[in-house]
């Protein structure tokens, strides 16, 4: 591998990390506020992909614009799902079995909805942008990847502003750090939970919509990304928003470079090995887990 190849791979990793971060933020927000691992994340990503697909096919809406539209739509969907299902779950300061099973059931329903409406063919979105490239110095970059990266970046800046500059953001951060103290100072946990769930789903929808421009998809589209999101938030320390970006970068680097040595078919095994390694060897990312584990064993 010459230095140019390495540089190419580094840039590719960075571009991939952008979309991975967007995708994982949705999971972190929900986990942080409600301590729920959203297994339906994969289902909403899949719906996000089909959302832009339908807009593009029926109304000719550009997929990037479609992805931006997906954000508010999925925000509302997320709040509705919270109102309809999630708010009945027992409140807990750690993930519970019912929450896991409920959202898993929801994922199955969404997935089946996907099969019922769109069948199990691979779909993809093809625009003028799809194969276009730009030359930056010695590097050839895909335009669509750059645009997706830019949108992902914008969404992250938006989230950062939301979390640091608004009352809602402060409430989210407070509940993430200490739900009981949060309640003591008068945060309406139900309302914040509903908004956070909406936000989490909005990010899932946005990520799925963006990924639709990069990859082909079918109703089972989200599953590999669900595991990736989980690997990322574990790498990032589960509740840290900055850690997520770091975790995304690590996973993107490992995946991009491992393709050089390992057949693409084994990609999934790599994400998983990284998860195991992260959980066992990287105490930095999983400090909270390790602390609890220390007491248990």
């Amino acid at each position: 591998m010459g230095w140019l190849d390495v540089l190419n791979l580094l840039v590719a990793s960075l571009l991939l990390a952008g979309i991975y971060t967007t995708m994982s933020f949705g999971m972190t927000v929900i986990y942080g506020v409600m301590k729920i691992i959203n297994l339906a994340h994969a289902g909403f990503m899949m719906l996000g992909a089909y959302f832009v697909f339908e807009l593009f096919n029926r109304l000719g809406v550009h997929p990037i614009l479609g992805a931006l539209l997906a954000f508010p739509v999925f925000f509302v969907v997320g709040m509705a799902v919270h109102w309809l299902l999630v708010r009945w779950l027992p409140v807990s300061d750690q993930p519970t079995l019912p929450s896991l099973l409920l959202l898993f059931g929801l994922w199955l329903v969404l997935q089946n909805l996907g099969y019922a409406i769109w069948g199990n063919h691979d779909r993809s979105i093809y625009t003028d942008m799809t194969l276009a490239t730009v030359q930056v110095g010695p590097l050839t970059l895909s335009v669509v990847q750059l645009v997706v990266f830019a949108v992902a970046l914008v969404s992250l800046v938006f989230l950062q502003l939301l979390l640091t500059r608004t009352w809602f953001g402060r409430a989210v951060r407070a509940l993430t750090q200490n739900p009981f103290a949060g309640r003591l100072v008068g945060i309406d946990t139900g309302r914040i939970a509903r908004l956070s769930f909406g936000l989490g789903i909005a990010f899932a929808g946005l990520a799925g919509a963006l990924l639709a421009s990069l990859y082909s998809f079918d109703p089972d589209f989200g599953r590999p990304f669900l595991l990736r999101s989980f690997v990322i938030i574990v790498l990032g320390g589960l509740e840290s928003f900055a850690g997520v970006a770091l975790g995304a970068l690590i996973l993107a680097l490992v995946e991009t470079f491992s393709v050089q040595f390992v057949p693409a078919g084994y990609q999934m095994a790599i994400s998983f090995s990284l998860l195991v390694v992260a959980l066992l060897v990287l105490p930095g990312g999983v400090a909270s887990l390790l602390e609890r584990r220390g007491r248990a064993s």
């Binding site: 691992i37 297994l39 299902l85 009945w88 779950l89 027992p90 807990s92 750690q94 993930p95 519970t96 079995l97 019912p98 896991l100 099973l101 409920l102 898993f104 059931g105 929801l106 994922w107 199955l108 329903v109 969404l110 997935q111 089946n112 909805l113 099969y115 019922a116 599953r223 590999p224 669900l226 595991l227 989980f230 690997v231 574990v234 057949p263 078919g265 084994y266 990609q267 999934m268 095994a269 994400s271 998983f272 090995s273 998860l275 195991v276 959980l279 066992l280 887990l289 609890r292 584990r293 007491r295 248990a296 064993s297």
Partner: protein, 341 residues
């Protein structure tokens, strides 16, 4: 909480297993008697249902009693199926010995999976198992030695001749595996080991404080469950005579295995059996009629159970019994059972 299946009214778990063992013996006796008495019904349906129920009972050992939800039981089913298939076809091993081999291989695999993942608390373990399921399926899909994605044909040859297919043999094998699973489940539920598992599920730190080694207990329960599922997978491989990774390692199998005990009643002895029976029969009907809807129906069922009756069928029955009969004395604890918060 099962050991609460016990008369909750008394607030203490029933210590003896006699009543459940007698019920199990009667059930198994009826199952054995069916083909012997010349019954001409659908043995195939009962065969598959028994294999599913075995997996359901096994999952309940880990997911119900110990509260460790796994989305990866298809791994053990698939490994058991492949182990038995290879032993029978390439090794010319007696099929019943091959089933034992399948159980052993699955149990060893469960240890390999459990060693890293049981370091994690419940839900983290659950997600990790999704990863394991995917990883193993992908590896099997690419493993040329075992036919990769195109599958593996099971040829049982004794003395140069192919052994003819006798449904009764397969059926009785399934009954035997089911009986072992049921008896093990009863013994675990009524033992110190089972109580320790319950304690781990209810509060791992408190369990550790009273001297329960959570990690080892989880590993043991996982291995026991894996062995049962592996044996069931082996029996399936011999029956189907052809297996492939997207069949036996399918994530949907993991989903089904998890679904049965939840529907029937988590952490009870008879819940997984009821769930497995209901599932086996519904599966047959549903897949035939609404092949493209069954996933969503299972999902909807899961949501409904969690929201309205976390105790499953058994919980519902208990609730009905309470409503119809004796009223709960004031101050008495509510029956816990089922999906614990």
């Amino acid at each position: 909480m099962t050991a609460t299946s016990a008369p909750v009214e008394r607030g203490l778990p029933r210590a003896t297993a006699t009543r459940d063992l007698v019920a199990a013996a009667v059930l198994v006796a009826i199952l054995i008697a069916l083909p012997l008495s010349g019954w001409q019904g659908n043995l195939r349906l009962i065969f598959t249902t028994l294999l599913w129920t075995t997996c359901s009972i096994a999952w309940n050992l880990v997911g119900g009693f110990a509260g460790q939800v796994s989305f990866g039981f298809a791994v053990f089913y698939g490994l058991g199926a492949y182990t038995a298939a290879v032993l029978i076809t390439a090794g010319h091993v007696n099929p019943y010995v091959a089933f034992l081999g399948a159980a052993v291989v699955a149990a060893v695999a469960s240890l390999l999976i459990g060693l890293p993942t049981f370091r994690l608390r419940g839900p983290y373990f659950a997600i990790a198992t999704i990863g394991v399921n995917e990883a193993v399926r992908v590896v099997m899909n690419n493993l040329e030695a075992l036919g990769a994605a195109s599958g593996y044909r099971v040829d049982e040859i004794v003395g140069g001749k192919r052994v003819p297919f006798v449904m009764e043999h397969h059926y009785l094998t399934a009954v035997a595996i089911f009986a072992v699973a049921l008896v093990l489940s009863i013994l675990v539920a009524r033992s110190r080991f089972g109580l320790a598992l319950n304690a781990i599920r209810d509060d791992e730190d408190a369990a550790a404080d009273v001297g329960v080694n959570a990690f080892l207990h989880k590993l043991a329960a996982h291995a026991l469950a894996a062995a049962l599922v592996g044996a069931a997978g082996g029996a399936y491989a011999r029956y189907a005579a052809f297996i492939d990774p997207s069949g036996v390692f399918n994530f949907n199998n993991s989903v089904s295995i998890l679904l049965m005990p939840v529907i029937g009643g988590l952490a009870t002895i008879w819940g997984p059996v009821i769930g497995g029976g209901v599932y086996g029969i519904i599966q047959e009907e549903l897949v035939a009629r609404f092949a493209d809807l069954h996933l969503g129906l299972y999902g909807a069922l899961l949501i409904l159970v969690i929201l309205f009756e976390p105790g499953g069928v058994v919980g519902l029955a208990r609730r009905l019994r309470t409503a119809l009969g004796r009223r709960r004395a004031p101050g008495m604890p509510l029956p816990a059972g089922g999906v614990k918060a």
